[in-house]
């Protein structure tokens, strides 16, 4: 029955304790909705035929409901709504109160990736490893704009809000890999801000933790550098950073906001620059690309025309990657300081 309804409603598989609870309410609500729509619809259709107009200018009886009827109209929906509320709110309390023995994972959303860190253990980018059958509390925050952490198979979701921590928890019931989606619109690559939860059986989990602890530092760097796990735009930006370092951009351009031989990359994208011709331009992809290929064409005022052309030295994808990288250095969206909002102490 459960399986059948799941398929019928296109629900993803149930992989957490909360999923099972919330789905039961879902079935209840959907069936009552269907039945009542059907009942209202049937009554209406029956009335349309039974009481169709038989002659023009037909007069009708004056019918008004008795108090009893009106009472029924109020109490019937109210009864169902309150029943749903009681069940639903019980489940909501369940999902908003993590058990005391939950394991903590810190989650940070940033445009456009998820970073996970364990209080003692390793970090991860876009892949969250958790043990099965053990409650996991997520402490979620964001570095830039709002995000929302959503795992359809667990039926859990919580907004990531910059400057404060929100929390939710889950207990995965089956080992496997489940998708993480971002459900709060967060900009250009909102739809590519995907990740995975890897649920491990207890023994595999222990092995994984041991493995991670062995070379925690090494692994942490690997996780950050493991570009295959990073979604496309973020991966491009990281590649761009690498390429920029290789071809020597940083000899003349800083990324910390200080002007050097050339203008700083920090906040360059979207900034309005005055050119040596006196014209103002707003820095966009086209201008950055042109400045790499033909640096003298639109020189920013106050800087010498000393940059060599990179025409032929950079491939198309490399150029694009550098542009993406510079775009991630937009000042308003990326803050380097830590969140200053309230913080949660881990329970225990």
């Amino acid at each position: 029955m459960n399986e059948l309804l799941n398929t019928f409603l296109f629900l993803p598989e149930q992989a957490s304790t909360f999923a099972e609870r919330v789905d039961r309410l879902h079935y209840f609500v959907v069936s009552v909705t269907m039945l009542s729509s059907l009942a209202v619809g049937t009554a209406a259709v029956f009335f349309f035929f039974r009481y169709r107009k038989r002659k023009p200018n037909q007069t009708t009886e004056y019918v008004v409901p008795s108090v009893k009827t009106e009472f029924l109209f109020v109490s019937l929906p109210l009864f169902f709504f309150l029943t749903w509320f009681v069940i639903g709110f019980r489940d909501f309390v369940f999902v908003s109160t993590p058990p005391k023995d939950a394991m903590d994972v810190y989650v940070m959303g940033k445009q456009w990736m998820w970073k996970f860190s364990y209080p003692e253990g390793p970090n991860g980018v876009n892949v969250l490893h958790v043990p099965a059958n053990r409650p996991v509390r997520l402490l979620i925050t964001s570095r830039d704009v709002l995000h929302s952490f959503f795992v359809p198979a667990f039926r859990i979701k919580m907004d990531a809000i910059p400057g404060r921590y929100t929390q939710t928890w889950f207990e995965a019931t089956k080992p496997g890999t489940y998708q993480i989606l971002c459900t709060e619109y967060c900009g250009l690559s909102h739809s590519k801000m995907l990740g995975e939860v890897v649920v491990l059986a207890p023994e595999e989990w222990d092995a994984w933790v041991k493995e991670q602890r062995k070379g925690a530092l090494q692994n942490r760097q690997d996780a950050l550098a493991d570009l295959s796990l990073v979604p496309h735009p973020a991966r491009m930006a990281e590649q761009g950073q690498k390429v920029a370092a290789e071809v020597g951009c940083f000899k003349c351009h800083t990324v910390n906001g200080e002007p050097h031989i050339g203008p700083t990359f920090l906040g360059l994208y979207g900034r309005t620059e005055t050119l040596d011709t006196g014209r103002n331009i707003r820095v966009d992809e086209a201008w950055i690309t042109q400045s790499m290929m033909d640096p003298g064409a639109h020189l920013v005022a106050g800087y010498p025309n000393v940059m060599p052309t990179y025409q032929g030295k950079l491939t198309g994808p490399q150029t694009a990657a550098i542009v993406e990288y510079i775009k991630t250095l937009r000042t308003p969206d990326i803050r380097t300081g830590a969140s200053q909002g309230p913080t949660y102490e881990p329970i225990q």
Binding site: R52, T60, E70, F92, D144, S148
Partner: protein
Amino acid sequence: MSPSSSIAAEPGAVPAPDEHHEHHPSYLVDGTTVKSWLLTLDHKRIGVMYLIWVLLFFLIGGIYALIVRLELLTPGPTIIDAMTYNRAFTMHGVVMIFLFMIPAIPGAFGNFMLPLMLGAKDVAFPRLNLLSLYLLLTGAFIAIWGMINGGMDTGWTFYTPYSTHTTTTVAPILFGAFIIGFSSIATGLNFIVTTHTMRAPGITWFKMPLFVWAMYATACIQVLATPVLGLVLLLVVGEHLFHFGIFDPAQGGDPVLFQHLFWFYSHPAVYIMVLPAFGVMSEVVAAFSRKNIFGYRAVAFSSLGIAFVGFFAWGHHMFVSGQSTFNAGVFAVLTMLVGVFTAIKVFNWVGTVYKGAVDFKTPFAYFCGFLYFTVFGGMTGVAFATASLDVPWHDTYFVVAHFHFIMVGATIMAFMAALHYWFPKMFGKMYHEGWGLVSAALIILGFNATFIPQFLLGNAGMPRRYYEYPERFQTLNVASTAGASLLAFGFLISAIYLTYALVYGRRAASNPWRSRGYEWMTESPPPTHNFVGPQPTYSEEPHFYVEPQKAEVPDAV
């Protein structure tokens, strides 16, 4: 218009045209210069101008919707890039909500019908009324200018801190919406005062047509909620331009506060959009089942109830924004009450048909669609309000489908029903009934085909505002896009036959539906000051279809 109109036989419906009739041309031809239209103070002409503009805005919003649906045909990029897509769905929302849904029924039909239904010669403040139209247009043009010069990619909810940091042109669009807010306040204020002071002798509060009750409730929301939105929009514009940091966490600001203030307006705004629809449908169902509304007071009070409770339900948009569990519970229960009030209306509408005499014309077809969409859309809304079901559904396509069921399924069905029901009243022409039914069927079917797959998409976990999506969602997206094409086709047919009817349609009788709504007690189209000769007397309640001799018997209660 023709004095030989057979409808004059209908007792009490139309006062017999007197001999001075020829000296009182209909409002449509009383003054034909452009100036006589653009600077008119006549509520009917203002209503017609509103109608033309909101239809244009509906077209713009609809084109954005089709772009969005086409883009979602395939999992990857289809016709546009991500930035264009993000702008397209934002513009779809902004245009549809601020330029169509909010002004549509109050602006076009409220302006036209409210004074007629109250037996008044005009609204209380005709100049303010004209001003509200031009405020709407000023705001609209500033916003559209912003869309052409860059567009905005925040989604219509303008959530901070994204909206204060994005490099797209937020300021003109938000400022446009700010001005549109004043237009909305002006309309609301005007309607409240009109209802209080302009009722003809005999029209007591409980003899007002239910459309007036609905407009009154709507107007209360417009007046009380919109200023808060105005303030919030100004703050966001200020943030975007000067980075004050009120909503910016980097400077100690609180982005969730924005959500509270935003939804304090925008949740009641949902009822600004849907209450007029309920009012229209109360008229339509009574007129086409030729019966007094079942439970008049219940329907009237439930409008006020929705307006009131609607102010205290905003927190249900933020169940997963980290608000306290207690808050969530309070907002959840209050939201349920809105569901109860809506249920009262639904039952009473069905009750109205009981022992009626149903004339299955185009407006009634829209009523059928409306009834189903309201029940289903409303019940899914209540399901959201259980708080726990909101957790998986929040910001997925389930939400998108739910509010389209209410916004399109209730409001646009009502808009179409109103357009058809009052078409002869407003223009004195008759549209083609057969095409009317065909397009109604197409619109209702197309609408179902568009949004039922979106409910399932939401169940499957597809988030909203996604440019690309995992491949497993494709089948349902294709189904939805196919449905959207059908829906667009239905609207296209309506546009064609209604335009045709406007120009070549046969002349309608003064009261082609033989309706006993108050607005039909004057000529169609009405003369400039609404009534010729003596004021009609309003001895019976609106939509009183009882045989005269039986009418003496006190009612069944």
